[in-house]
Amino acid sequence: MVRIIGFLVGLAFSGVLLLSLLINGVGAIKEPAEKTAEKAGFLLEPKPLHLASDGPFGKFDRQQLQRGFQIYKEVCSACHSLKLVAFRDLRQLGYTEAEVKAIANQWQTEVPSINPDTGEPATRKAIPSDHFPSPYANETAARAANSNALPPDLSLMTKAREGGAPYVHSLLTGFQPQPAALLKQFPDAKTPPGLYYNPYFANLNIHMPPPLVSDGQVSFADGTKPTVDQMAKDVAAFLVWTAEPKLEARHATGITVLLFLLVATVLAYLSYKNIWAEAKRVVAPKGPLDPENRARRATAMSEAGIEGGPKPDGA
């Protein structure tokens, strides 16, 4: 019964699937899917980017993180929030407590608070335990100021995009005029006004105007030459840190744990081999205690009609 019902159910599911396959196949041949510019090879994979934090032994380059933070502060933070990071976290970039306090105190946006005398909404200067205040009061305000496009929070940007840090670097350096070949192939795909062509962005046209426009847009205290590419790299490195400030601890702990496990596993293997070497001796009783001999004796005795022989166990 189970098999008959099963057979029918199997036939039904497989049948409907093969029918779908057939119908789809015919449909696909009749009207092939339309191609879009993204699919036609105009969407590019991020350029390779190597950061000090890459790989299992990777550590942050603190100078670079400080430069990246400077770019966030002077360029990105005008529109993008960094909600998950607190000023106190900047200590990890090598800033002293006093420097962190000064950075918080002089931050361009103040922290929303309440006027202690009247209870009305007010703002106050940030302190190290505050998270970075958002440039806009809320999402509506952010959209209103950016022709309805919401500048995303940057805290997790390198983890929230498939391409990670290389994507951030490529996107920031990828602004360019729309290629003529694209317009020739897809005349309707012209970048709409107010948007910017960027071959690394999912649909090729991004609301964000090019943020890093010229070499020397910021000036680095450590003497690094602030080319657009360098600035994009530094801010990408900074965003790797904001997305995962515990990366160094993770790498260091990971190496220790794996080394420990490696030794422990080798020992476990030796111990296993060594215990199994005893297998034969432990479980193969010889002579009259051998279960097979006991069974034989029992059968023989019962055939001969003798009472009280060993009971055949097992079998």
Binding site: A86, F260, A264, L267, N274, R281
Partner: protein, 187 residues
């Protein structure tokens, strides 16, 4: 390993067996060390997290506290009493002989030099952790004119020293410093 004791072995294998036992013991020891190591993150996660520790010091503006008034500030999610003592309260506190006190301390020991009118104490009764009355206008300040804990009737004097009731100690003075004449950093 205990389970191997059942194994009959010939005397010539004695050395080999010892070496093998050593491997088993080493393997089990490693497993034990691993188990202890695993317990570390499972336990340390309970300790205060970085954001909680970051709030461990606060700045309080005391410029608006008139003599005779007190405020409650919140530090580490606990109340801190900040009182601007009147001269007569200071005098009353200094008039008490130390021998009468359960937890002998002078007012001077409980304030900062140059700021002897500022009495800054935790607002946590040393008996069982209730918050004593006495900071708000018109609250019961107890028989000694300081603070009075309504839970079990501990009474503190104008220097917040325990005078009567079950509490064993004076109200604790937290670590603090004056960063300016009107701002106190607690913690």
């Amino acid at each position: 390993m205990a389970t191997l004791q059942d194994t009959p072995h010939d005397a010539t294998a004695e050395d080999g067996v010892r070496r093998r036992d050593f491997i088993n013991v080493a393997a089990i020891s490693f497993a034990g060390v691993g188990a202890v190591a695993v317990a570390v993150p499972l336990l340390t996660q309970m300790a205060p997290s970085a954001d909680v520790l970051a709030l461990a010091s606060i700045d309080v503006d005391i410029s608006k506290i008139q003599p005779g008034q007190a405020i409650k500030a919140s530090w580490r999610k606990q109340p801190v009493f900040i009182r601007n003592l009147m001269p007569k309260e200071i005098a009353a506190a200094n008039a008490v002989p130390l021998s009468e006190l359960r937890d002998p301390q002078t007012l001077a020991e409980r304030t900062k030099p140059g700021h002897s009118n500022w009495l800054i104490t935790m607002g946590v009764c040393t008996h069982l952790g209730c918050i004593p009355l006495g900071t708000g206008e018109g609250e019961n300040r107890g028989p000694f004119g300081g603070y009075f804990c309504p839970c079990h009737g501990s009474a503190y004097d104008t220097a917040a020293r325990i005078r009567k009731g079950p509490a064993p100690k004076n109200l604790q003075v937290p670590q603090y410093e004056f960063t300016s004449p009107t701002v106190v950093k607690i913690g």
